[in-house]
């Protein structure tokens, strides 16, 4: 082969490869549901049996007369995306004229946000998309989501009262509902039975008060260095956007006003509430210091069996079931001297404003977030956190439900609240402004009263963004 021939052939090959790559980049994801996929976790036979056991009902919105395709964006782990694909397969069987293209950005919300905020900028959002309580308001405020009130009120079988009250508020604006919540979990106490037993402390009960919690936290903290056992697994920090209803409000303090327009952290009762928690850390190191946290590779000390209690949402139960090699249970968040509350947060699905197939998108959303859909996706997989009350009995009866699952359900429907949870558009700025000041408290170079005042000064100007939307 001559040099010229070689150059010509190589050039043509390179050009063809470039063209093929460009075309591949322009094409959409391949439809996921031409066959029933399965995994060890989600066998096809079990999925088929479960699907066949439901009465999926029928939407008042008629199916399209000719074939339409809707794109749905998810944020699942690769393992759980298999279950999603199974749902889509069965959905397409029931609705032959609706083709589903499922996209999965993985279960990192940062990656998900990068992908879909970029797509929003390019004007190419999917028809239906997942969103979380922490960033939904940004999309709602920018007009990216369709108000669903008309669809919801027309849908005779939808029954809005079946949803836990706390689950819906994050997705409302000006009286309109922009998303249907698909999971919502209250913050609970997880406890390690053997650490409690060794410390001679009674296990948490539904009657626990804050003082009981404090006594147990102090009593179960022991040891030093690599063998230290912590009373609590993670630091108390304003980076937890729900620290108000969980930690401050039961003690009479508050982080922000209800409309997130004013900082209340510098009020005496709020400072006292924060001190209640930080004193335990300063006195006995009941939760990991920054350096101890680094020693744990930022992992959760509870899952490693090195903490007596973990304060976390009920969404943490499935991974704990897979990873923890000790006996554990879940208990109610205790009542404080000034009230009994915890936060419940979660995620939702929305139809985007620019969707060309809104009716088909609603048919999908309605079925996906029906009782049957929630049992298929959540109750039967052990994930829990269903937003529909009618889906809970199936979960509570299942083998996947952890000890104390009934407490989760009780909390969700009684004392769990969205009040005090920071979820307005300024949430990331608030967190990033408060964290550096809080670092100084954790490093023991700044007292709580000064820190609260500094945080208040730093974040008050940021709250304008919440008002402006």
């Amino acid at each position: 082969m001559s040099r010229r021939t070689f150059l010509r052939a190589a050039g043509a090959t390179a050009f063809a490869a470039t063209g093929a790559s460009a075309l591949a980049a322009c094409s959409s994801s391949s439809p996921t549901t031409t066959s029933l996929v399965e995994s060890k976790l989600y066998p096809a036979a079990g999925a088929q049996k479960l699907n066949d056991s439901f009465d999926w009902g029928k939407s008042v919105v008629a199916d399209p007369k000719s074939s339409v395709t809707i794109t749905v964006a998810h944020s699942w782990s690769p393992a759980d995306f298999v279950r999603q694909q199974q749902f889509d397969y069965f959905f397409q069987k029931r609705h032959p004229n609706i083709k589903i293209v499922a996209e999965n950005a993985g279960d990192s919300s940062a990656d998900y946000l990068k992908k879909y905020s970029s797509q929003a900028a390019g004007g190419s959002l999917p028809d239906v998309m997942y969103n979380g309580f922490g960033f939904a308001q940004n999309f709602i405020g920018s007009g990216a989501f369709l108000a669903l009130n008309d669809y919801i009120s027309a849908e005779t079988s939808f029954n809005p009262s079946d949803f836990a009250d706390v689950s819906t508020g994050y997705y409302k604006r000006d009286g309109k509902q922009y998303s249907v919540p698909y999971d919502c979990g209250p913050v609970m106490i997880y406890y390690n039975k053997s650490i409690f037993s060794k410390a001679g402390v009674e296990l948490p009960t539904s009657k626990w008060k804050f003082d009981d919690l404090r006594n147990a936290v102090l009593a179960t903290t022991s040891g030093q260095g690599g063998s230290k056992t912590f009373g609590l697994s993670l630091p108390v920090t304003p980076a937890d956007t729900f620290w108000d209803p969980v930690r401050l409000s039961p003690l009479g303090g508050h982080y922000l006003s209800d409309d997130e327009s004013e900082v209340l952290l510098d009020k005496p009762e709020s400072i006292a509430a924060v001190e209640w928690w930080v004193d335990m850390y300063l006195q006995k190191g009941v939760f990991p210091s920054p350096s101890e946290l680094q020693g744990l590779s930022q992992a959760d000390a509870f899952t490693l069996g090195r903490a007596a209690m973990k304060v976390d949402g009920s969404w943490g139960a499935p991974s704990l079931r897979d990873q923890a090699n000790f006996e554990w249970g879940i208990a109610d968040w205790p009542a404080g001297p000034k009230g009994h509350s915890t936060a419940a947060v979660g995620s939702a699905y929305s139809i985007t404003t620019k969707s060309g197939n809104k009716d088909a998108a609603w048919i999908y959303l309605n079925e996906y977030l029906s009782t049957s859909g929630q049992v298929f996706m959540f109750a039967s997989t052990g994930k829990g956190n269903m937003t529909r009350k009618s889906a809970w009995p199936a979960y509570l009866k299942s083998e996947a439900a952890p000890e104390g699952a009934d407490a989760i359900y009780r909390a969700l429907n009684t004392y769990a609240t969205s009040k005090g949870v920071v979820f307005g558009p300024a949430t990331p700025q608030i967190t990033n402004a408060a964290t550096p000041i809080w670092d100084q408290v954790m490093g023991k170079s700044l007292g709580v009263p000064d820190a609260c005042k500094k945080i208040a000064e730093a974040i008050q100007p940021l709250l304008k963004k919440n008002v402006a939307g």
């Binding site: 050009f15 940062a110 905020s117 940004n138 690599g226 350096s291 020693g295 990331p428 964290t435 100084q440």
Partner: protein, 313 residues
């Protein structure tokens, strides 16, 4: 040589030099060249040049990513110059960039000299030193979080062996950037390879002549190796500095900008503004500040290079 090349490339010239004609072969080769280069050129225009121009325009706009951009004039730049975190991130970026380049260039140069010796198992050693370069950034960051752990980390345990109490590294705001600088040397494999190539291109006759003149090891190193390697050192300094000033992944994973914003670098701050705060206009203005910073640093390198880089054999 430099005078001959154009004649070869342009083929025959008119007698008065007014019109150049290219040969068939030269034209074919030119076409082949552009054919091969076109994927990169097209890619750069679409995915590099386009966004650069867009970023410039966006820096004069308010844009939440989710809505339509609106003209803001110099508002983003006014905001930038009044933003204390901008200055903090600039100082942190320069501190990290200068520190990591100085340490990295010296360390990798010394390692390259060692790896240029004729010893048994040289291939093994070269592989070992290059391996960290192929480890993903996030994995490297997680590894170093453990190495720098104040109580049980490898470095402080080593120091404790000699009775020295090591610092809090990533959890102490005074030691966080030195910790990151230390870590940045880990991925010096690529730089070492470039140094090795440079070292092997130095003519042995120069060392031989120096040896005949009675030069010892240090003299040969200082008067032969360093001057002959100066273009390579310069290349590594420039490229390493550009990369260091854009540090993002390792900061995000290792410290998230903390403690107390001690490691908030410009790259991380731009990411926050763009994808956490949805303030793309301000992020674009910050990006141009980063571009200016890199541009000034690089220009300064080229000015200083006249004093110490030697291109003559």
């Amino acid at each position: 040589m430099a005078q001959v090349a154009p004649a070869l490339e342009t083929g025959t010239q008119g007698t008065q030099g007014t019109r150049r004609r290219t040969s068939k072969l030269a034209r074919r080769e030119a076409r082949a060249f552009y054919g091969f280069a076109s994927p990169w050129i097209i890619g750069f225009i679409l995915f590099g040049g386009g966004p650069v121009v867009a970023a410039l325009l966006l820096s004069f706009a308010h844009w939440s990513l989710l809505s339509t951009p609106s003209w803001a004039g110099f508002a983003n730049y006014h905001k930038m110059f009044a933003d204390p975190l901008f200055y903090k991130s600039i100082v942190n970026t320069i501190y990290f960039g200068a520190g990591s380049v100085c340490l990295g260039v010296v360390t990798s140069f010394l390692l390259a000299i060692l790896l240029n010796q004729k010893v048994r198992g040289l291939g093994f050693f070269r592989t070992v030193f290059y391996l960290p370069s192929v480890v993903a950034g996030v994995a490297t960051a997680i590894l170093w979080v453990n190495i720098l752990q104040p109580d049980s980390g490898l470095i402080n345990s080593f120091l404790r062996f000699f009775g020295i109490k090591g610092p809090g590294w990533l959890v102490d705001e005074h030691w966080a950037i030195p910790g990151l600088i230390l870590m940045s040397v880990w991925g010096a494999g690529n730089t070492i390879v470039i140094y090795l190539a440079g070292l092997q291109s130095i003519s042995p006759t120069l060392y031989e002549a120096a040896r005949i003149d009675g030069a010892g090891w240090w003299s040969r190193f200082w008067h032969v190796t360093v001057p002959m390697m100066s273009p390579v050192i310069f290349f590594n300094v420039v490229t390493s500095l550009i990369a260091s000033l854009q540090a993002y992944t390792l900061v995000l994973v290792m410290t998230e900008g903390g403690p107390n914003n001690a490691t908030l670098m410009l790259g991380l701050y731009i990411y926050r503004q763009a994808f956490e705060y949805f303030d793309m206009g301000y992020a674009a203005a910050l990006s141009w500040a980063m571009f200016a910073l890199i541009g000034v640093a690089t220009a300064l390198q080229f000015v200083l290079a006249r004093r110490w880089v030697h291109y003559d054999a």
